[in-house]
Amino acid sequence: MNRLLCPRNQPKLLIIVPAYNEAGHIRRVVGDIRRAVPDADIAVVNDGSTDATGAEAALAGATVLDLPYNLGIGGAVQTGFRYAARHGYDVAVQIDGDGQHDPADLHLLLDALETTGADMAIGSRFLEKAGYQSTFSRLIGIRLLALLVSLLTRQKATDPTSGYRACGRRAIALFADHYPADYPEVEALALMHRQGLRFAETPVTMKPRASGQSSITPLRSAYYMVKVTLALLIHHRLHAASAHKPQPAAGVETEGSA
């Protein structure tokens, strides 16, 4: 890559904010992040919004990656990872643009990433049962997926659907090339495991979303569960041989329950 084209000094931390039609809130979200981590670069991935999300994010001082059309959450977040990989960021954190993730918890993720030496730190809302805990039916689904992910990756996962996560260099490189298209969070964990990368969880609190609609409506919940489960199992089956080998690294308890 031509150094002339990235004249800034190499920053370390990139915050990826996927946003679709969040014009009313994106400025506040970017501002909150800026206050929590003043040194970080903030990349808002404008996922083909039909409102002024891109312009609002630019006004707030964020780097704006304008997708020419809507790719969905997976494609949007992957854009951020590609950007992070190209510009040599050490850590990339995904924070959703709907206000569910509290930027004040960012340092928890960064600390967890550093102290555990894992490739990804996941903010779990269930480790300390604080803050917004989601609805009952969703909790059942999340529990089931957590169980499945824990079994498949041989690592304890309590909140596999959490989108609040910090990725190290190896995870950034992996996700820049491969990232699931829709409902990517759970699959990404299995993908990491197959590539020999580890994740660690750390407790965070989440807020109910401030704006916009969840991408997972009740009607789509069934599809979500079936799709994610199938994807986990199909991909796992292909790599069953390697997964059955004892992997000392995967057995280590890396939960950041400090």
């Binding site: 000094n9 990656l65 020419p68 790719l71 494609g75 854009t79 590609r82 950007y83 190209r86 298209a181």
Partner: protein, 140 residues
């Protein structure tokens, strides 16, 4: 009766092949996909011209009602084509996603470059030279 049906099926598949060729000539369909459709219509044309071929194959496979073999072949052929199309669509989706992501990243880069030369030209050149020789000046 049977002869009419055969003439009709020959005519239809011939017409179908002609349409496919036309689309290829006008560059509206690429040759790879056209070959699949042409193969399918050639098969139906052959069966229409030599109906006994179907009977013989049916007998070989212990199919008592020969036309049902034709149905089965047709359905299998279409399933194969659909699978092929689904794979093609998945590949195109993957490619267009990649392209969209690259466009977003390049556009941001361009904006940054032009923004610098436009409003803060001095800053821009300063940054560039510092970046290019950054290591050397650090050591000196």
């Amino acid at each position: 009766m049977i002869a009419y049906a055969l003439v009709l099926s020959f005519a239809i598949s011939f017409g179908f092949a002609a349409v496919v060729v036309r689309h290829v000539r006008r560059k509206r369909m690429n040759e790879r996909h056209a070959l699949l459709w042409l193969g399918l219509s050639t098969l139906v044309m052959l069966l229409s011209l030599f109906p006994r071929l179907l009977d013989r194959v049916a007998r070989l496979l212990n199919v008592t009602y020969a036309p049902s073999l034709l149905y089965m072949l047709a359905i299998l052929g279409m399933l194969f084509l659909l699978l092929h199309m689904t794979l093609a669509v998945s590949k195109l989706t993957e490619r267009s996603n990649r392209l969209a992501q690259l466009v977003a990243i390049q556009e941001e880069k361009l904006r940054r470059l032009y923004g610098e030369t436009g409003s803060r030209a001095g800053d821009g050149t300063e940054n560039r030279s510092r970046d290019e020789f950054g290591n050397r000046s650090l050591h000196e």
